[in-house]
């Protein structure tokens, strides 16, 4: 039999059994497409989130009060004096105590509900925020508890549009503040939009809220995060009278965490997400594979008889096997390619929507998922397409024609 005849025979068989061919391809499309989609979307978000964390300076350390949830204490466990004590440590620098002001910001008819940080001059630097126009909050603002504010680029846009914000007066709660500086755009970090922040001097925030306790404090280590964290923990435990040599976080009334740790934890969470999605995708590949198997096994009786007839008419074993090989390769290739296009296409679509909503999300294709799922589908298609054909081709023609199982 000529190769061209075998190819033509295979394609005729695909078209004659178009329903079965379509269902086979569908199984492959679903399997390959979903694996690529799930794993790539998982990876895309993993990358996005890690990106968010890495925006922060590498040595960032944050300390939060946690007393509220434990032992009936309140969250008011961190004080300004704690911050001063920590500032005296040799392993940390740029210690910035923070008090939040929970008010709206107004300018004319424009209104904004940003995060309002009351903190010292080093605060912005800890988060990599840089000045675009005007000046930063300085020592003298702090000393005199002046009503001045430095605002993020997006906050400036919303409140002032094209106007120059420097020197303008905004209202926070019932008081007016003069805008002295506007920050450069940073995008979002840790899923928070860093461009809508508003900062005022720490002393001003303390005076307005009347709070003595801190909402949290941020600082940077002088190089060794672990050393710095150990220092902070022992200082705070000592000051708060907590005996916790076994380092049980439940006994502390605070949490000290470095951004490296956060990156690690978030990395683990997102990796978990990717694995989870990969697992779901693996299940769909399995389901798709079982679908392919089913269709091919259901077709075995019919196809065994066809093979018997072809052999009765003079087909050699190799003619049969080549025909079925071409059939299986064609179906799995077409199905695989459509699956890849579909998976990547949906992935790009989801990424585009996410980019619109979150910003700076870029699609990350998982090449290994692509190759693996394609190889799996190909194997399933070939094995379950060829194995019954091989068995049938080894039968005597009449045995195959009378096949009834």
């Amino acid at each position: 039999m000529l190769l061209s005849d075998t190819i033509q025979t295979a394609y005729k068989a695909i078209i004659v059994h178009r329903m079965r061919s379509l269902l086979t391809m569908l199984g492959i499309i679903i399997g390959v497409g979903s694996v690529i989609l799930m794993v790539s979307v998982g990876r895309t978000f993993e990358n996005y989130i890690l990106d968010q964390v890495e925006t922060f300076s590498n040595n960032l350390i944050e300390v939060y009060p946690t007393g509220f949830e434990k032992f009936g204490r309140t969250t008011d466990s961190l004080t300004f004096e704690d911050a001063e004590a920590i500032a005296n440590l040799t392993t940390v620098e740029n210690v910035a105590p923070v008090i939040f002001i929970r008010e709206k910001v107004q300018y004319g008819t424009e209104e904004l509900s940003p995060l309002i940080f009351g903190s010292t001059s080093v605060f912005l630097g800890n988060y990599g925020l840089k000045l675009d126009k005007g000046r930063l909050i300085d020592e003298s603002d702090e000393k005199s508890a002046r009503s001045v504010a430095v605002i993020g680029s997006e906050a400036a846009n919303t409140l002032f549009g094209n106007r120059d914000p420097i020197g303008e007066r905004i209202r926070i709660g019932s008081r007016f503040y003069t805008v002295v500086g506007v920050l450069q755009s940073l995008g979002s970090a840790l899923l928070q939009d860093m461009d809508t922040v508003v900062t005022v001097p720490f002393s001003t925030a303390r005076a307005i809220t009347g709070k003595h306790q801190l909402d949290y404090m941020s600082m940077t280590s002088k190089g060794d995060d672990d050393l710095a964290l150990a220092d902070i923990q022992s200082t705070l435990r000592q000051r708060h009278g907590i005996d916790n040599p076994e380092e049980d976080p439940d006994k502390d009334d605070f949490i000290a965490r470095s951004s490296a740790q956060a990156t690690e934890i978030i990395g683990q969470v997102t990796l978990g997400l990717t694995i989870f999605l990969g697992l779901i995708a693996g299940i769909s590949l399995l389901v798709g594979g079982i679908g392919i198997m089913n269709i091919m096994l259901v077709a075995v009786t019919e196809r065994t008889r066809e093979i018997g007839l072809r052999k009765a008419l003079g087909a050699r074993r190799k003619d049969i096997l080549l025909q079925f090989l071409i059939e299986a390769v064609t179906l799995t290739l077409i199905g695989g390619v459509i699956g890849i296009i579909g998976g990547v296409g949906f992935g790009l679509l989801i990424t585009a929507v996410a980019d619109k909503l979150l910003g700076s999300v870029s699609f990350s294709l998982s090449l290994s998922a692509l190759l693996l799922s394609f190889a799996m589908a190909m194997t399933i298609g070939l094995v379950f397409g060829l194995y019954p054909a091989k068995k049938a081709a080894n039968l005597r023609p009449i045995e195959a024609i009378r096949w009834d199982r």
Binding site: M1, L2, D5, T9, K12, V16, H17, R305, E306, L309, R310, K311, A312, L313, G314, A315, R316, R317, D319, R396, P397, I398, E399, I401
Partner: protein, 247 residues
Amino acid sequence: MPKNNAPLIQTVKLCKSYFNDELETPVLFDMDLTINEGEFVSIMGPSGSGKSTLMHILGFLDGPTSGKFLFKGEQTMQMNDDELARIRATRVSFVFQAFNLLPRTTVLDNVMLPLLYHPSIPASERRDRSLNAIESVGLTDRADFFTNQLSGGQQQRVAIARSLVTDPDIIFADEPTGNLDSTSGNQVMEVLQKMHTDDNRTIILVTHEHETAMHAERIIHLTDGRIDSDTTNFKRARASKAKSLNK
């Protein structure tokens, strides 16, 4: 190499058993049978006597359990898949009671199918040969129909056209009229008869009907896997002799 004077088909002590899970069902016993080129043979016998089994072995669709089966003097037991395929493609063809056409495929494609596996007929001749075969069974106007759009008699004629198209030495027909009414049955028999008388082709036919069997010049009766009687149908034999003398 085929011996010049060797009969077309010769079996010596041919036996056939079926095996299902160690269970042996013997069907044919020590069958000695010779069929020469150009004969028209009918095989008759009660149901289960082994007619189909014998046909399948002689038609290269199955193998014997023991004994010899010589085709043109050549031993067939030792042939490999390629050699068997070659004989099926070029020398013998089979008409089944159940037609066995490819579904969802046209009459023309069905008739052309054996030519795909024929080692020497060039691709350029396939279409004309197939159309000729279709014409000889009177289905030219149905060539582009799908086989499921035909009556049973028409489907059997397609099967006969398919068996003709490779110009084989022998055509085996296992109850070709068994599924047909008498009118379509007669049409099918006319075609087979014509293939024998016009082309001097060897035909081996299994049938239950006496009237159908009487088309042949020789009638073999099987009972319980043995040849019961092997007789000449003088009416036909004389007619065919007269015809060949006239030529």
